[in-house]
């Protein structure tokens, strides 16, 4: 760790600092001050202007300007509106939202009330996955305390503003993170997306204008109000302001949550904060944006992280998953792994996502099993592009990203699989080959005795042989041989 202060904790400011089950702790940290300030000193428009000025963009992945979203929802005439917090965190490996809800639930409640004030809603709903029992528990406690303190409910801080929040539970479907699917799920319907427009800001929950923001987005709001948009927008890059929380995982030493200013480079995150690659291995790739993101090579290590740069590099911000891979990771298998996730999580509504991803997966499987052809790589590219071009929602449209980005950045690995029948990382079992080097084999029979399928033959004190048609690549012979007479290629 060369520099220990590369992080700034805004969304995570109170996590690890306060007791999340004590509203007093939150208030001691200026909790609900932002709400008080908005209700007593700012008009709705001034508050929205402040959020717009701050440059805050949606942290759930889309990166839509938060203030603009609030403004759109505010400007729709309706007898009722809703504020929805999307806490259906579903990216594998991403858990910043859970961490915020478990460590600082009031910050989200406060921001939702501020949003309600701005758009003219008196009801907030938090859509949270049922697999987050602790977060749910702490939210329940927080809501109860906030009501007791009169910080939720009617006539908040004597201003006449009413706002209350309820929880809605999701069953952990990834696609329910998509806002239209999320709203359907809350309405008791099948969690599948519908075509936008209409956007939820116009017609959302129960057909009413609904402002949906993610947990991390909300958690940043009170700080913006308290410290000012000008403070916030000094952090970050030209088009991406503030900080972003990443969940660092994979072959990295300091696995965990980090919050860095927009514009921090991948290298700083991976090496300075993440402590570099486990066991000093060589960095190969970093995958950002969750299952729909892309895999970036070391060429991108000095790319400053923001929404636009990541997209330009062929990946995306997503909700902030960041998975580091080293030389031992096979990029074809990685693409296959991510696709498995999307396959499971596709809602099945539109053809390209339902069937197209299945076919992509089958082709990848064929390649990792050693049966792929160069034509298969072309088919992957063509099909991936059609899926991106024709899928209904963001999940489908981005699902081929891991395939396309690994082909773009690691085509040689694909070619090694299909042309040479080799997996350079040694991960694809079907492509491994164990051989006995005659000159080194002493005929000790140790491998022969340990082979579980009888694939090794040979006389005592004479060189042995492996019958490739029987070998199941278990590697036992390789481990047992005392003379390094067995090679793995």
């Amino acid at each position: 760790m060369t520099d220990t202060k590369k992080q700034i904790r805004i969304a995570l400011r109170n996590c690890g600092l306060i007791d999340p089950e004590q509203i007093e702790d939150y208030i001691a940290q200026d909790g609900y001050f932002a709400l008080g300030k908005c209700l007593t000193e700012y008009t709705q428009d001034q508050t929205i202007a402040e959020i717009k000025e701050s440059g805050l963009r949606g942290r759930g992945g889309g990166g839509f300007p938060t203030g603009l979203k609030w403004e759109i929802t505010k400007n729709v005439e309706a007898d009722q509106k809703f504020v929805v917090c999307n806490a259906d965190e579903g990216d594998p490996g991403a858990f910043m939202d859970r961490s915020i809800l478990e460590g600082d639930p009031h910050s989200v409640l406060e921001a939702m009330a501020i949003c309600g004030y701005c758009i003219g809603a008196d009801k907030g709903l938090i859509y949270i996955r049922a697999e987050y029992p602790l977060a749910i528990e702490r939210l329940k406690i927080a809501i109860k305390q906030a009501r007791e303190f009169g910080l939720l409910g009617n006539d908040i801080l004597g201003t006449g503003f009413n706002f209350d929040i309820e929880l809605r539970y999701g069953a952990g479907a990834f696609v329910c993170g998509e806002e239209t699917a999320l709203i359907h799920s809350m309405e008791g319907l099948r969690g599948e997306p519908t075509f936008k427009p209409p956007f939820p800001s116009v017609s959302g929950y129960m057909g009413k204008p609904t402002n949906v923001n993610n947990v991390e987005t909300f958690a940043s709001v009170p700080v913006i109000i308290n410290k000012g948009a000008g403070w916030f927008n000094k952090i970050g890059t030209e088009k991406s302001k503030g900080t972003k929380v990443f969940a660092l995982a994979g072959k990295i030493n300091n696995v965990g949550l980090v919050e860095v200013p927009m514009g921090t480079t991948l290298r700083e995150v991976v090496y300075d904060i993440g402590g570099g690659i486990v066991n000093g291995k060589e960095f190969k790739s970093v995958q950002t944006g969750g299952p729909s993101g892309g895999c970036l090579t070391k060429d991108f290590l000095d790319t400053p992280i923001d929404y636009d740069n990541l997209v330009a590099a062929g990946s995306m911000m997503g909700s902030g998953g960041m998975i580091v891979m080293d030389e031992d990771d096979c990029m074809v298998s990685i693409a296959k792994f991510y696709l498995e996730f999307t396959l499971e999580e596709s809602c099945g509504k539109c053809t390209p996502c339902r069937i197209g991803n299945k076919r992509l997966h089958e082709i990848l499987e064929k390649i990792t099993e050693g049966n792929g052809t160069e034509e298969d790589i072309d088919r992957l590219k063509v099909l991936s592009n059609v899926i991106k071009d024709t899928s209904l929602c963001g999940l489908g449209q981005s699902s081929p990203n891991p395939v396309l980005s690994t082909i773009a950045n690691f085509e040689d690995e694909y070619l090694a699989h299909v042309k040479d029948g080799k997996c350079p990382a040694g991960q694809c079992k079907s492509l491994l080959r164990y051989d006995i080097i005659e000159d080194l084999c002493t005929g000790c029979t140790l491998c022969f005795r340990n082979c579980p399928v009888g694939a090794i033959t040979g006389e005592r004190r004479a060189p042995h042989f492996i019958d490739q048609s029987l070998c199941i690549k278990c590697g036992v012979c390789f481990e047992k041989c005392k003379f390094d007479a067995i090679t793995l290629t």
């Binding site: 396959l343 499971e344 099945g348 053809t351 390209p352 069937i355 299945k358 059609v386 071009d389 899928s391």
Partner: protein, 584 residues
Amino acid sequence: MDTINLIIDNKPIVVKKGTTILEAASSIGVQVPTLCHMKLDDLNIENKPGGCRVCVVEVEGRRNLAPACCTDVHEGMVVNSHSIRAINARRTVMELILSDHPADCLICAKSGDCELQDMAQQLGIRKIHYPGEQSHYREDTSPAIIREIDKCIMCRRCEMMCNEVQTVGVLSAINRGFDSVVSPAFEMNLDHSECTYCGQCVAVCPTGALTEVDDTGKVIRALSDPAKTVIVQTAPAVRAALGEEFEMEPGTLVTGKLVSALRRLRFDHVFDTDFAADLTIMEEGTELLNRLGKHLAGDKDVKLPILTSCCPAWVKFFEHQFPEMKEIPSTARSPQQMFGSIAKTYFAEKLGVERENLVVVSIMPCVAKKYECGRDEFKVNGNPDVDHVITTRELAALIKLSNIDFKTLPNEDFDNPLGESTGAGVIFGTTGGVIEAAVRTAYEIHTKKELPRLDFDELRGMDGIREATIDFDGLPIKIGIAHGLGNARKLLEDIQAGKSEFHAIEIMSCPGGCIGGGGQPYHHGNAEILKKRQMAIYQEDKNKTLRKSHENPHIIKLYEEFLGEPMSEKAHHLLHTEYFDRTE
């Protein structure tokens, strides 16, 4: 701004705001292919989940392709419906659908009538570049409908019909990703569900995933059994649609050819369900007048409005959904069942044939009739009043199988006595017809005067819920009509809430009534076909000399010789029924 200027395939066009690309394109003759999308004009039925993605088009400046069916046009939009990008994407999407679809077209029930097959041809699919695993599900057979959901392409039309139009709520998408499919909850069998067998799912299914149970084999076997006398009845809506199966214009009346064909199929007697419809009017009309009379006399316990009970899917619907109201519908059996009951008693006696040796076959526009004839209350010692039901489509198949050139058949007349009918019996085939027929008879019985007119335009039409007040010589009779079970539900909820002011309500499960039944030739989303069938039905009514059920001479004779009078004990035994609470 209420209008939008845009360009589609190089042609500038002006359309109303809120128009979709698909509609705008269609207005200038650009037919963007669609698969899941279906719209029945005037019936308020539209399915556009945007799921199949076959209708994608290229929009200048847009990141991805736009589904034409659910993308609204915007000012200055430039659409290219057949750019290479759109065509390639569309064909790839189609290949993907086909890659997960059994390629058994040669032996599929929908072959030649399949929208998926047609689309594959239209898009010129000659090879599937992305073959792979296909999904497999258990085939589900019920008394009326077969679900072969390996053939489901997730267009969701059936689901929309079942939930939004019919509000039955049996079919919905289940599972996720590649395993997604439309099914009853927990993949239960249809016959364990609350399915009404209305068959509207079958009527809109673009592929062979949902079809009727094929009973033609049973009919062929009965016809070839020398020990059996086989008689047939044919429902009113059949004659207005059967011609479509033989490339005749929709709305062509084929009554004479139909009779002729049935005779060539060697049915021993060719009868008309319209006869039984007239009989239904006698019973139901009398029941209405009885209840009305008691009501006017101040009887507080009398149940009004009276609801028609001809439609078996509707009957099953309220048995599941409104069991506490099972005393409200008329106890009159449906025309099909009245026919069967009279055939196996009155007519069997006349013929001197044991009921076991008399086989009654129905030709119905309906798949629920297959279920209805199997209900226990319509059996005597296990022998059903109606033995086999085949749909209009199955009859067409049977005619083709029997080498009959339908188009050149001569016109022939029904046999007597169960083939005589009035115009009132004919109009049972369309929404509003049953109640109009009932009015014609009830009016004359009640007022003992002749009706000044026979056509009640106020009861006709295609609106989902209609109402009219008919003057019964000073007594205003309030009449409601609903077609589509969702519309029926609304009227039922009003009754439940004590808000209904109707005296009588006609309910038909299928949009349009029986002309739009689940067993009719496929309309493929063209509502014009339904309207033409409806016009044909009213034309047939007009053509009849007798247009009031109580004037049917064979009905009069039936009461004289056999039943006594309407609602007599014998009539009650043979022509009325009871309903069951199916919520347990």
